[in-house]
């Protein structure tokens, strides 16, 4: 899909919406639109209803966990070292906070086009509220429940936001990158990699 005309159409229909095109450099060239949480429902309704777009079918909703990213830039600075002016490389580190992302794949059954990739991002990994698009596409209901279960994204406006796969008493979100699974590595007969390390810790504790 060529996303530029769609972005223009949204900007006319939903004034104030902050949109960003996220390019996909792969041969598939499935560029996606990042939409701000405040205008997401209005944008989704426009995508569904506008003539020429009519994205009436949401096939897939999924989550992504982006960890905080640390980038370092090296600049050469002149400094006085022991009375002599020298050129010293100075490294400045900047940390961009991590965030949770929800990705929607949209198709139009009527006009037979798609997929359009729509993304929403949380502010950071602690503030996890995003608007639910289930009122726009009913098919997103269970998939948003799954994302709530596995990533911990709270969908405001979802009709029935409960855990889908794990039990209600469970407090973790297993698909998050920092999830620590329970330590039950007592018996790993064919362990390797990370599992091997954890199994060894167990064995060292168990040996008399």
């Amino acid at each position: 899909m060529i996303v530029e005309p769609i972005v223009e159409s949204i900007q006319v229909a939903v004034p104030g919406a902050t949109l960003e095109i996220m390019p996909n450099p792969s041969p598939s060239a499935q560029h996606s639109i990042v939409v701000d949480a405040a205008h997401a429902v209005a944008v989704a309704a426009h995508l569904r209803d506008a003539t020429g777009l009519q994205f009436d079918y949401c096939t897939n909703v999924t989550g992504v966990d982006w960890l905080p990213k640390e980038t370092s830039t090296t600049t050469k600075v002149k400094k006085m070292v022991d009375g002599v002016e020298q050129e010293v490389a100075e490294v400045t580190k900047t940390t961009t906070p991590g965030f949770l992302e929800v990705v929607y794949h949209l198709y139009s059954i009527v006009l037979r086009h798609g997929p359009l990739v729509l993304r929403m991002r949380t502010l950071d990994r602690e503030h996890t509220h995003l608007p639910s698009l289930t009122p726009v596409w009913r098919s997103a209901e269970f998939q948003e429940r799954e994302i709530f279960d596995l990533y911990g994204v709270r969908f405001d406006g979802h009709p029935d936001l409960r855990r889908l796969l794990m039990w209600d008493e469970f407090t973790d979100h297993p698909m998050r990158r920092d999830y620590v699974d329970p330590d039950d590595y007592e018996y790993e007969p064919t362990a390797h990699g990370e599992v091997l390390e954890r199994a060894r810790e167990h064995q060292e504790g168990a040996t008399p």
Binding site: E169, P182, D184, P189, V195, R200
Partner: protein, 225 residues
């Protein structure tokens, strides 16, 4: 008092008697024959292994030949639980509860890689690493999924096991031993995992030597080649 196994009829005398039209047996043989010849499985499947289990009962493989065709839809009428498929942590309490509701004598076949150890999902966050962490398992069948022939073989192995059991002595079946538990702890849903994560009285981690492909001395100290 003489033990039952010491009073078993002499095999030669028995065959001689049967030739004369006299049928002689011991209570133990009769009891074991009854137990092994009418194993009624619980009608209960968890994943793709259940499809193989269904195939085993159908005309092509015909489990009815071994007296196990009556799959009971209620645990109260079943003798045998075939744990056929992936036991998720969300399903594990129900499996244990079903097992507790079965009347003794009862047996368990752990069918397929998942029921034995978690299989391909072993390191997953939602899969139990083997049902033997909560209930005692009599026969394990490896495979993903095991073929119907493997399930039939497990049946025959279980029948042999039942046939060889003595009704007295230390190795007597669990239901004839008052010291053995008749019910097993049903795990509760916890905040991070099932509680308890395993039945420690029942399941002890087998001691295994962890082997890897690494050869000793591959990493030389001091960076020497």
């Amino acid at each position: 008092m003489q033990r039952i196994e010491d009073r078993v009829i002499d095999e030669q005398l028995k065959s001689e008697l049967s030739r004369q039209g006299i049928f002689a047996t011991s209570l133990q043989e009769l009891y074991n024959w009854g137990r092994r010849s009418s194993l009624w499985p619980l009608n209960f499947g968890l994943a793709c292994c259940a499809i193989e289990m269904i195939a085993t009962t159908m005309a092509r493989y015909d489990l009815a030949r071994f007296g196990a065709e009556v799959f009971r839809p209620s645990p109260r009428q079943a003798d045998l639980m075939i744990v056929a498929g992936t036991v998720t942590k969300k399903m594990a309490p129900q499996v244990v509860r079903l097992y507790n509701q079965m009347p003794e004598p009862k047996y368990v076949i752990s069918m397929g890689a998942c029921a034995i150890s978690g299989g391909p999902f072993k390191q997953g966050y939602n899969v139990l690493k083997g049902i033997d962490r909560y209930i005692p398992v009599d026969i394990y069948i490896p495979g993903c999924p095991p073929r119907p022939e493997a399930l039939i073989d497990a049946f025959l192995a279980l029948q042999k096991k039942i046939d060889a059991q003595h009704l007295t002595g230390a190795a007597r079946p669990r239901h004839l031993n008052a010291d053995q538990p008749s019910e097993f702890v049903v795990p509760q849903f916890g905040k991070h995992d099932l509680e308890p994560p395993k039945n420690s009285e029942l399941w002890k981690a087998p001691l295994v030597q962890i082997t890897t492909g690494e050869t000793t001395g591959a990493a030389m100290p001091g960076g020497q080649p």
